[in-house]
Symmetry: C2
Subunit: 213 residues, 2 copies
């Protein structure tokens, strides 16, 4: 391959990537503006400045476009949120994570309902992709838990994987309540639930009574 044709190939690849990004960005804007049901491929193509044929060539149908538009975007949000976690207590780190991820959903409230419904009840291949995404964050939380045990914040032998599942339970419950309009401050709800989970509900142990001689 000549240097000139390599250069041309490079330009084409860059253009293709730019077109893909523009289509996904247009899809997110269109879905948020008119809702998933009402959105149509022609309008998305027009927003991206490409033909409807180009959109169809890249993505088979509207649902596939939705998944492509949302999953990659959420993936990036999750990765960067986990990477940016500070060196505070486990409770502080989880608050940071919760805030960062909710900010993502809050940027596009209408779309969030669709995203959540589609990700929790996805069919293959998206179910597997979504599970892999959750699995990644799950691993990160289990690691944070191990570090908290090492710092003496948590009891030795605490099940970090189970705690990560508890965190996800709280997160999704609050997110579902929020997209359904049943809760105004999902971040605070998650924080309270995590706090109660860490502290437990049992009476604090009484110091052993001194036996009488």
């Amino acid at each position: 391959m000549s240097n000139e044709s390599k250069r041309q190939g490079g330009i084409r690849a860059t253009q293709k990537e730019a077109t893909g990004k523009a289509v996904l960005e247009a899809a997110r804007a269109e879905f948020e503006s008119v809702g998933f049901e009402a959105a149509n491929l022609r309008a998305i193509a027009a927003r991206a400045g490409v033909s409807a044929g180009t959109v169809l060539h890249h993505y088979g149908d509207k649902r596939e476009l939705l998944h492509a538009a949302l999953f990659d975007d959420l993936e990036e949000t999750l990765r960067s949120a986990v990477a940016k976690l500070g060196t505070g207590s486990l409770e502080t780190q989880l608050s940071e994570l919760t805030r960062a991820v909710f900010r993502y959903y809050q940027r596009r409230p209408k779309l969030s309902r669709t995203l959540l419904k589609e990700s929790l009840f996805a069919d293959e291949p998206w179910a597997q992709k979504f599970n892999a995404q959750v699995h990644g964050v799950h691993g990160a939380i289990a690691r944070l838990t191990e570090e908290a045990i090492a710092r003496g914040e948590l009891r030795p032998g605490v099940n970090g994987a189970l705690f990560a599942v508890a965190y996800f339970s709280f997160f999704y419950f609050a997110l579902i309540a929020w997209v359904q309009g049943a809760h105004d401050s999902p971040v605070t709800l998650v924080e309270h639930l995590v706090h109660q989970h860490l502290e437990g509900l049992r009476p604090s142990e009484k110091p052993p009574r001194r036996r009488k001689p």
Copy 2:
């Protein structure tokens, strides 16, 4: 109104109720057998031994029929599960509740996925009905928590309403994981999560050191 026409009216009301029940039972069987998407009103009418017109007269469309068939049934399951709770510890009572409600979902696994998706992301008027249903169980759990505090099982001042939200978070997480094929024993998962939530993750308090004289 003569005694004869009262008697006739009574028979008609009983027949109408019986028809309604037969249609709902047929709808549940048809939805479970072929799935919500593929189910059609004609087949449901045939199962119930009535005309398609009768089904349409009682229920506007397939989605309305789905909600009617599922919500009343689940409502009855929840009410009877709460009523039957024994006098064990809070943890035992919650296990009983979890088992009873999961048994309901496990009887019709295919339908459960639809039920869950439809109830978590319902539009009005079903969203409100579903919220009222959750609210009822929420209140029952908050009461059980108060009783557990009174028995000395939990710390005084524990937030029972928040604990009820934690329970729901665990329950729905396990249920979603199960309908998605990602978890085999949802009841055990809920039990482990509830146990960890009750016990907490903090190091147990050390008895205060005796000060040296």
